[in-house]
Amino acid sequence: MKMKKTDIGVVLFMYAVCGFFYYHMTKLKASSQTYPRFTIILLFGLTTLYLVQMLVNAKKYGVESGVDEVFAGFQPRQFFFCLAATILYLVCIYFFGFYISTVVFMVAVLLFLKVPPLYTAITVVVIVGLIYFAFQKFLGVKLPVGTVMKALKK
């Protein structure tokens, strides 16, 4: 099996995680270091083992990019819109509460993904209704109202 260049990122990420935890571990009391040290050594050792395997594969079978395989059929516009909308949704919940944010988020994403307006409306009503009855009424979960809405109510 050829070595994939994309795996270099995996190795670097794991080493970065080890480095981060090691740095913070050194600040702990000696007795509290035992288990984190064990896990850091374990992750470091396994990552190094994987690195060695990658290098052996590179020597034996050659190197390939791996990007084509990992991101085959990747739709950047669609993906990043959904990701950004999800993050914005989280921010909106904090300010405007759950229900308003959910309706806006769902309508925006559904229309962006070219779902016909009628299906969009049905989907939003079904999901909001489901959450209202299942979580708020049945389970008694108080969903966030939002800081702006709270201020307006006052």
Partner: protein, 517 residues
């Protein structure tokens, strides 16, 4: 013996309460919907519904999760038969014969066979669940701190190998999870470790991590792909039934597949996707009508479906007794157990025996609901399976948000869930194992307590970790756990090759939206 029988009887009485029956029906229907949609997986469905079980009694919560699990495994067969796209990998072998039957105008018969075989496979798997679980749980009474440490390592070596293309990557995922599990207060001294804020004092919220790694990451996977219209589900007019003669033919097939599925389920590291191919191959080997295979054989459908549903009961045995889930769905189920404050092992069959036996009885009854709802709702579920990813993306996102918020009613939980969603997405893109991270988050604290207590009692002498026979057995099992994926991968490849006639490594990637978790 009499005690066990009375517990079993009481379990059935408890399980038959209206709320439990309602939850079984709801869970099975939800599971079938999740299973028949090719973009969603059983693990994802169980993770998504986990927060809904918090306010329920532990047994009711577990029954719901078990119902979703069984429903999802069966649900995969509906889309496999009607649109030739398995809803879950567990139904991949069902698509071979099931779709052939659909093309021959026997979709109703294929669906009935799948439902009938799933019912018997699931029901028979409960037999082993009842009889082997208490025996295995008694074994853990011999466990001390050092043994618990090795048990956590064994659990990780097992899950790390599952659904990972590279074993080392699977183990790396487990080690990463262990490291993440150290965030929070030191369980022995109470010292703050790796905590950016006091929110993390109790460590990473396992449920948020579960929802993020299994459900939110799936949203990102769906969002990166081009949205395609799903194939039209075949409308069928033939009767959903089997003749007495056909049922007689299926009997030995179902029994064989039950044994196969059950053993595969008990073996940590193997799952329903392997069982369905093994069940299918065995049904072909023993069939008196081999010529029908490849053209639409009811034995092929039954062999695959009975085996994948027999996995459900079997896989619960190591999960409930040793705390070692063999696959992603049971890892999530175990998360549900731990969140309810229950620890897998002898306590479940002692102090909490009434709860455990109610869950077992519920699991038996779930199979009846699966049969009823499956048969009555096949046509409707077939239409749901066509639901576009464009609709699933925002719906699942909203459910992930509300689910993670519902736990502590804290927006930080959503932030954690979303972070794990992104981490899970990247991990899946780079062939790392999300199930291993989840299990490490659950087993990490158990292992840490075991290791530190063992070292404390031995005054730092590391030989305490190798001081008992049980320790050595567990160490040997760890080695077997590390090596088992090699064997399991070969077994799966061989079974798939025999079933499809194509080497899985050589075939072109098929456009199936199935999730390997």
């Amino acid at each position: 013996m009499l005690d066990t029988l009375s517990l079993m009887g009481a379990g059935f009485l408890n399980a038959l309460t209206p709320i439990n029956l309602l939850m079984m029906a709801g869970g099975v229907a939800m599971g079938i919907v999740i299973g028949c949609m090719p973009g969603l997986s059983a693990a994802m469905g169980v993770a998504l519904m986990l927060p809904m079980t918090f306010t329920m009694k532990p047994e009711t919560g577990l029954i719901v999760l078990g119902a979703i699990y069984c429903g999802a495994i069966f649900g995969g067969s509906i889309s496999a038969i009607l649109i030739h796209t398995p809803g879950t990998p567990a139904s991949a072998a069902t698509a071979i014969e099931g779709y052939q039957m659909t093309q021959r105008g026997q979709a109703g018969k294929a669906l009935f066979t799948a439902c009938y075989a799933s019912f018997w496979g699931g029901l028979l798997s409960c037999v082993s669940l009842y009889f082997f679980s208490p025996l295995l749980a008694k074994l853990t009474l011999k466990f001390m701190s050092a043994e618990y440490f090795w048990l956590s390592i064994f659990g990780l070596t097992i899950i790390a190998g599952v659904s990972s293309k590279s074993m080392i990557k699977g183990l790396m995922s487990g080690a990463l999870g262990l490291l993440i599990s150290t965030i929070g207060l030191d369980p022995i001294s109470g010292v703050k470790r790796f905590m950016p804020s006091s929110y993390f004092a109790e460590g990473i919220n396992t449920t948020c991590a579960l929802i993020g790694l299994f459900s939110m990451s799936q949203v990102f996977i769906l969002a990166e792909k081009k949205i395609k219209a799903r194939a039209q589900a075949t409308k069928f007019t033939d009767k959903m039934s089997l003749s007495r003669e056909e049922r007689k033919i299926l009997r030995p097939t179902i029994v064989r597949s039950w044994i196969i599925g059950n053993l595969i389920g008990i073996l940590p590291g193997a799952g329903a996707s392997i069982a369905c191919f093994l069940g299918y191959n065995t049904s072909r080997q023993f069939s008196k009508h081999k010529e029908q295979f490849g053209k639409g054989s009811i034995e092929g459908v039954a062999g695959s479906e009975a085996a994948n549903n027999a996995v459900t009961g079997g896989s619960l045995i190591p999960t409930l007794t040793l705390g070692i889930p063999g696959e992603s769905v049971t890892a999530v189920l175990m998360g549900g157990l731990v969140i309810q404050g229950l620890t897998p092992g002898p306590e479940l069959f002692g102090k909490y025996a009434p709860m455990t036996y109610t869950f077992f009885a519920g699991f038996v009854l779930v199979q009846f609901f699966m049969l009823g709802i499956g048969l009555l709702g096949c046509r409707g579920f077939a239409q749901i399976s066509r639901l576009s990813d464009a609709i699933l993306i925002p719906c699942v996102t909203v459910l992930c948000f509300v689910g993670s918020y519902a736990i502590h009613k804290n927006i930080m939980d959503i932030v954690v869930m979303l972070s794990f969603g992104v981490l899970g997405y990247l991990m899946r893109k780079f062939d790392l194992n999300t199930a291993a991270v989840v299990l490490a988050l659950i087993l990490g604290p158990i292992g840490e307590k075991g290791l530190r207590n063992a070292l404390r009692t031995s005054r730092g002498n590391i030989s305490v970790l190798f001081s008992s026979v049980v320790c050595w057995v567990l160490i040997a099992l760890c080695i077997v756990g590390i090596l088992s994926p090699i064997f399991m991968n070969k077994l799966e490849k061989k079974a798939e090759e025999e079933a499809t006639g194509v080497d899985p490594d050589d075939k072109k990637p098929v456009d199936l939206d199935i999730d390997n978790d």
